[in-house]
């Protein structure tokens, strides 16, 4: 993964930021292309390598056959094809979607809350999801919706509801002050986490609960992906429409208003999009730490603060990060899988510290 980073840095330095953006499209393509290449490379690694060994050439043939591009004899065991298409490809796709969703959600929250420490869970999604999950474990209710089980449906609903409550708490007189939003999020999160921890303890389901909160990409049903995938892609693509107004928000809410931005509307839309993305990511994979926090900062360091590039770039970097972390989690201590959040934290935390040190140097110049 470090090879991909170096490639990205080289492109960033070459860029000419002197002139006002004439036609942004070609330059954006130039800057996104290496990130996409990195994602594809890591995704390929994720499909090729796993705890069960399947020869790379075989894997390639199976993949080509699956998309209808293979004309030779099919010489592989059916079980191998099943492993590739039912296990590895969905898993890598889920990892990419989760990483992309969380990265964009993190970038959106950081912009709206004007707080570089904001991550996708800061105003309550994680705490809400956790409570929903515990409720699902304890309640004698079974739900199956679009391939998702009780746990996931509950987690999605409570994650979204929590942010709704936080937003409602923070809203006074038609405005939602950012500080109030952060405080309400913090307070409600603490409360919900205490409640769910308490429930976990008295119900003796700690192990089951921990497994989920640590993040896991075992996609049991393809329908999960076919439903959630397009929604995530749609939201990520749509978020680019918010890019220019979000840039202007960096001048402060009052000044943004002077420049014609509907500030309250922008905040609401950005929070809704970011929350949906986070809730969907949590539904697919539980709580995955650090992606939403680190990916946007890494991109800002290389490509600057403009959101039109930041949002799609963060998505690609986040996707790459999670696909890579998932690969490591499966392979590093094979056959024992390491919980995903542990891998993302172990890689993400030092990475974040490194980025912090580099950005301090940038500011002091």
């Amino acid at each position: 993964m470090s090879g991909a980073r170096v490639k990205v840095l080289a492109f960033g330095r070459m860029a000419d930021r002197a002139l006002p953006q004439q036609s942004v499209v070609p330059m954006a393509v130039l800057r996104l292309a290496p990130l996409l290449a990195a994602l594809l490379a890591v995704a390929a690694a994720g499909i090729l390598y796993s705890s069960t060994a399947i020869a790379p050439a075989q894997t390639l043939r199976i993949l080509l056959a699956g998309v209808g591009l293979y004309t030779g004899h099919r010489t592989w065991p059916a079980a191998d094809a099943l492993i590739i298409w039912q296990l590895r490809v969905p898993r890598v796709a889920a990892a990419a979607l989760v990483g992309g969703a969380l990265a964009v959600a993190g970038a959106l929250y950081q912009a709206v809350l004007r707080n570089p420490l904001a991550d996708p869970y800061v105003i309550g999604t994680a705490a809400g999801a956790q409570l929903g999950m515990i409720a699902a474990l304890l309640l004698p209710v079974q739900v199956a919706l679009l391939g998702f089980g009780t746990l996931q449906v509950f987690a999605f609903i409570t994650a979204s509801l929590t942010v709704l409550v936080v937003y409602g708490l923070a809203r006074t007189g038609g405005r939602t002050p950012i500080v109030t939003l952060l405080l309400a999020g913090f307070v409600l999160s603490s409360f919900l986490i205490s409640a769910s921890t308490f429930l976990m303890m008295i119900s003796n389901r700690i192990e089951q609960a921990m497994q989920w909160t640590m993040g896991s990409l075992d996609v049991s049903e393809m329908t999960q992906l076919t439903v959630v995938g397009p929604v995530i892609l749609f939201l990520v693509a749509g978020s680019v429409l918010l890019a220019r107004p979000l840039d202007v928000m960096m001048l402060g809410e009052e000044q943004a208003g002077h420049l014609g931005i509907h500030v309250e509307r922008l905040k609401l839309v950005a929070v809704v999009v970011a929350t949906l993305l986070t809730a969907l990511a949590v539904t697919l994979a539980g709580i995955v730490a650090f992606v939403g926090l680190v990916a946007p900062h890494a991109i800002r360091l290389i490509y600057g603060p403009g959101h039109r590039l930041l949002l799609p770039s963060s998505a690609l970097v986040g996707a790459t990060f999670v696909v890579g972390a998932d690969l490591i989690s499966r392979v590093a201590l094979a056959p024992v899988p390491i919980p995903l959040s542990i891998v993302t934290a172990v890689i993400g935390a030092p990475l974040f510290l490194h980025l912090l040190r580099r950005s301090k140097r940038t500011y002091s110049v």
Partner: protein, 228 residues
């Protein structure tokens, strides 16, 4: 070109915020060209009134060109691409504030005076008939105060702007502005040309021993603090 002066807490900044549309007045209306601001949409207001704030986050990493381009927000569509007209307005604003050579630099790398001019350029790019400034000279040294106010006077002539600035420095106000309004305790106490205002009793609102005299070079009235 109107200067709004008064002691701390007299309501200068509040009035400015009401005029710009940030704050809603409890009573009364702000009209621009005959239409009340509250009847105009937000984008329309932004095409009528531009505000140069007192502070712009000095650590912004946007390039000066990108920052000034934000002044075109009231004209730019949702997909946000700049038209040729937008680019012309940005270039003109950079030229007018004499920071063309800084276009590619990051805002955070500029000096305080340069940042102030960049903020002014952003407001100029909005191409509005009215320009509001909140204490534009308060963090500037003498050289930059002079340059900024000269620039403002010149721009006001060239672009036929209506300029209103909250000024903390009475003497700068008297030197550069052709109208002064004095606020005290939330009320308008006096308004008129500088000579008339400085001679009126309105300056009592500053609650300080003051002496008014004519500038030895240009004859305009200036105010000095007296010390017993």
């Amino acid at each position: 070109m109107l200067a709004l002066v008064g002691p701390n807490g007299s309501g200068k900044t509040t009035l400015l915020r009401i005029l710009s549309g940030s704050l809603r007045p409890d009573a009364g209306d702000v009209t621009a060209g005959g239409t009340a601001l509250t009847h105009l949409g937000r984008r329309h207001v932004a095409r009528t009134i531009a505000v140069v704030p007192q502070h712009t986050d000095p650590s912004l990493l946007f390039s000066v060109a990108d920052l000034v381009a934000m002044g075109r927000s009231p004209y730019v569509s949702l997909l946000g691409s700049l038209t040729a007209e937008d680019r012309r307005a940005v270039a003109a604003a950079l030229r007018a504030t004499e920071i063309e050579h800084l276009a590619g630099k990051r805002f955070a790398d500029l000096s305080g005076g340069e940042q102030q001019r960049a903020a002014l350029a952003t407001a100029l790019a909005q191409a509005t008939p009215f320009l509001l400034l909140d204490e534009p000279t308060v963090h500037l040294d003498l050289h930059h105060q002079h340059r900024l106010l000269e620039l403002l006077s010149r721009l006001r002539q060239e672009r036929d702007l209506g300029v209103l600035a909250v000024m903390h420095d009475l003497n700068l106000a008297a030197l550069y502005f052709d109208h002064i309004a004095v606020l005290g305790g939330g009320r308008l106490l006096e308004a008129g040309p500088p000579d008339a205002v400085l001679r009126s009793g309105a300056l009592r609102v500053f609650d300080a021993p003051l002496v008014t005299l004519a500038h030895p070079e240009n004859g305009r009235l200036q105010v000095l603090l007296d010390r017993d």
